[in-house]
């Protein structure tokens, strides 16, 4: 029997929008999510916190009915009184958009690359809300402007930054007017401003009689949302209760460790003990880049040498990823130039992609993807094993394809892949955005260790000021010329 202790919690006043009974997810014989029950009332928020790979995304997908093929769901899902077996997702499809909405973990992949942002959103207004085409377009435009995407409304998904894609996807998910919203790490990679806006949006939905289930690694987001909190680990709920209470007085050791690992508590990065020797790995001279006539930055001078660590910060869409791409030679600058140190091997500059899923070949098993790298550069397999161990990646995962592991697992695999090759410069674009604080701490510690050990330059893009402070002695804020 399930123990619905949470239904007695303070906010449980409205109707029940979501009830989950004994929900399980299995991959064959392997249990990924143990029987779990919960209920969500109108006006409520449920925050899911937990270890990377704990099964949070699977839980949301199972409720939604979008589990990837090969996974089996068990139990029952009741949405606004309509009950359906968890393994009969077709029965929940009619509710999508109108009553039940979800923001998936990888929004960049979710948008249709062949359509501009505005029409993607306008379709929802037209077909679900019954607005005439012109009206729908106008509403879509307004909603995008609201999300800070006014200028990007006529752009295609592959023309916008990671954070912008995430905001666009969120706007689309919300547009159908569903009262029950499942969001998977909605604030990852967003700067404080947009993070707060996102939280405010979710709160507004609650006030309007909706309910939200929020998966997040950001304790600040959890705090801001309040509501109830559930901590997941290895497919099991280890602790749950009122968010404020649990965060203030965690009962379970894992929860305590999680909270303790929050970046705000990390010590500052120690300054490099020695001056960078020799010529910098890359040097940008009077660099300028513009898209569609809008300058992201101009006359930017920058040099980064071996052993150096530089954080890049700035609002979403300000050009952080673009700067990295310029330095790596993946984009051509519109002004100025980028010089590489002489004698670097062609693969000395490496990148950790903001969207890890997009950076793996979709049909290749991870073991093969990594094996290829090892063979290509004649790398030591033991070194990889050590890296994976440090990142707490079980080697059993490697038999699967990129889409068959959790977002955080894949992000760590991507980290292991580049560290293994021993680059001269690593451009790490939000390398831990999908990790829980504990795993994040381990991953960043490893990154720092390896930077020092292999003596490579680190260019770290992060939205989290605490992480920037802890990881890099210097921070760069690219900004548009005035």
């Amino acid at each position: 029997m399930n123990t619905p202790s949470h239904t007695t919690s303070s906010e449980a006043s409205g109707e029940v929008l979501l009830r989950v009974e004994d929900l399980t997810v299995r991959a064959g014989a392997r249990v990924l999510l143990r029987p779990l029950s919960l209920a969500l009332h109108a006006g409520e928020a449920l925050v899911l916190l937990g270890e990377s790979g704990a099964g949070k995304s699977l839980l949301a997908q199972a409720i939604m009915g979008t589990l990837p093929s090969g996974l089996q769901a068990g139990g029952q899902v009741v949405i606004e009184g309509r009950a359906s077996a968890a393994d009969r997702p077709a029965q929940r499809q009619p509710l999508w958009g109108r009553r039940l909405a979800m923001l998936p973990q990888e929004p960049a992949q979710a948008l249709d690359p062949l359509m501009r942002l505005q029409p993607q959103l306008a379709l929802v207004h037209h077909h679900l809300r019954g607005a005439a085409p012109a009206e729908a377009a106008a509403r879509a435009g307004a909603a995008l402007t609201e999300a800070g995407l006014g200028a990007a409304a006529r752009q295609f998904p592959w023309q916008v930054s990671g954070g912008m894609a995430q905001r666009a996807a969120a706007a689309i998910a919300l547009a159908g007017g569903a009262r029950l919203l499942l969001v998977d790490e909605p604030t990852k990679g967003l700067d404080a401003h947009w993070r707060d806006r996102c939280v405010a949006l979710l709160q507004q939905l609650r006030r309007e009689g909706g309910a939200v289930l929020v998966i997040t690694h950001d304790l600040q987001v959890a705090r801001a949302l309040g509501g109830r909190l559930m901590v997941l680990r290895e497919g099991e709920c280890v602790e749950q209760g009122d968010t404020a209470r649990v965060l203030a007085a965690p009962a379970h050791a894992f929860t305590r460790a999680l909270i303790a690992a929050d970046p705000s508590g990390w010590p500052d990065a120690e300054l490099p003990t020695r001056a960078p020797a020799g010529e910098p790995v890359v040097r940008a001279e009077a660099l300028g880049k513009q898209f569609c006539g809008r300058w992201l930055f101009d006359r930017l001078d920058l040099a980064i040498g071996r052993g150096e660590r530089l954080a890049v910060q700035g609002p979403s869409g300000c050009g952080k990823s673009t700067l990295g791409n310029l330095l790596l030679g993946l984009l051509a600058p519109d002004r100025g130039r980028v010089r590489r140190a002489a004698g670097l091997s062609p693969w000395a500059l490496q990148k950790l992609y903001q969207d890890p899923l997009g950076s793996f070949a979709p049909t290749v098993a991870l073991a093969d993807a990594l094996g290829d790298v090892g063979r290509r550069h004649r790398l030591d397999a033991a070194a990889l094993r050590r890296l994976l161990e440090a990142l707490q990646i079980d080697e059993g995962l490697l038999a699967r394809r990129p889409a068959q592991v959790s977002g955080g697992e894949l992000q760590r695999l991507a980290l292991a892949r580049v560290l293994w090759t021993g680059p001269a410069l690593l451009f790490a674009d939000e390398p831990t955005s999908r990790l829980d604080p504990l795993t994040q701490q381990q991953a960043l510690a490893l990154l720092a260790r390896e930077t020092a050990r292999l003596d490579f330059a680190l260019l770290l893009v992060t939205h989290d000021a605490d992480v920037a402070r802890a990881m890099a002695p210097h921070t760069l804020h690219p900004s548009a010329p005035v």
Partner: protein, 322 residues
């Protein structure tokens, strides 16, 4: 500015087309010269049939057409004529090639046009249906039909159609050109293979998109399957389908050879076969040119359509202004 670019593009295409015309025509000439056998005898056989072809007739043909001139003597004249849009006269019928082509091309265009109109909706709809429900009855049916229609020689299908529709019901003529009704059977024969291929290609393209997160999200945002397909799916399906379709014009025209001869339809494919056998060089050059232009323009069309469907191909290169 955009107009300038379009103009430039058009000009480049035109130059390409001209180069293509010269190249292909020259190649045809060279090929025909390189083939073994006596050209005059072949022409004579083409003209007079096997009953009257002999060396005397061949000698007369050779003298009349100046076939003993070398390739290098013939080539410049042909180029000059081409530049004046003169394709010469058929060695066999003696009629101006342009005149013959105008007639035959019209017939073939009619045929392949109707075939395309028949095949497109059927193939696309079946393919989409099959792709949406893989393993379902429509999928199985299209698989079986596609395999059957693709392996069945078109002459067999043609005879079956003639037998069942024309002889059986008497509703349509068996062969010949007796008004628009005559087009239906040959066009259906041609369309069958095309629709079959189209259905499978469409199905595979759709399967690819349905497996993507973009499709899942389109559904999750609340669109019904049909709406998501219409607004998001079709473009993704269109890209590989257009690429494939661009090539099928060839098969429509060349596949028409068998169909045209079975249905006694005076098209270009039929003419080409005869021209090749009779070494009717001007006709071959003319047909090749005609087909070449047709394919190139059809390609251009499908290319333009796929550029329209795929914004990534329209994106200004990095660094380019608005």
């Amino acid at each position: 500015m955009a107009r300038m670019r379009a103009f430039e593009l058009l000009l480049r295409r035109l130059m390409q087309a001209l180069a293509l015309a010269l190249g292909v025509g020259t190649l045809c000439l060279l090929m025909m010269r390189a083939l073994p056998g006596d050209m005059a005898l072949r022409v004579a056989a083409g003209r007079y049939g096997f009953d009257l072809v002999d060396n005397a007739a061949a000698d007369a043909v050779r003298a009349e057409l100046g076939l003993d001139r070398s390739f290098w003597q013939v080539l410049p004249g042909w180029w000059l004529d081409l530049l004046q849009l003169d394709l010469g006269r058929s060695l066999v019928t003696g009629a101006p090639v342009l005149e013959e082509l105008a007639h035959q091309l019209g017939a073939t265009l009619q045929l392949s046009g109707v075939a395309l109109v028949l095949a497109l909706p059927v193939g696309l709809l079946l393919g989409l249906r099959a792709g949406l429900r893989p393993g379902g009855p429509v999928d199985r049916l299209t698989l079986a039909l596609a395999v059957l229609l693709r392996v069945m020689p078109s002459f067999l299908l043609a005879v079956l159609l003639m037998l069942v529709v024309a002889v059986g019901t008497g509703a349509l003529p068996v062969a010949g050109d007796q008004g628009p009704a005559s087009l239906l059977l040959p066009a259906t024969t041609l369309a069958a293979g095309l629709a079959a291929g189209l259905a499978r290609i469409t199905r595979q393209a759709l399967r690819g998109f349905l497996a993507s997160e973009a499709w899942e999200f389109a559904r999750m945002k609340g669109l019904t399957e049909g709406q998501a397909l219409r607004h998001h799916g079709l473009r993704h399906v269109a890209l590989p389908v257009l690429a494939w379709l661009g090539v099928q014009a060839v098969f429509l025209v060349e596949g028409a050879v068998v169909v045209e001869s079975l249905f006694a339809w005076p098209g270009i494919g039929h003419a080409l076969v005869h021209a090749v056998f009779a070494r009717d060089v001007p006709m071959i050059q003319g047909t090749a040119l005609c087909m070449g232009m047709m394919f190139v323009s059809f390609n251009l069309l499908t290319d333009a359509a796929s550029v329209a469907a795929d914004p990534r191909r329209r994106a200004p290169q990095a660094g380019e202004g608005a």
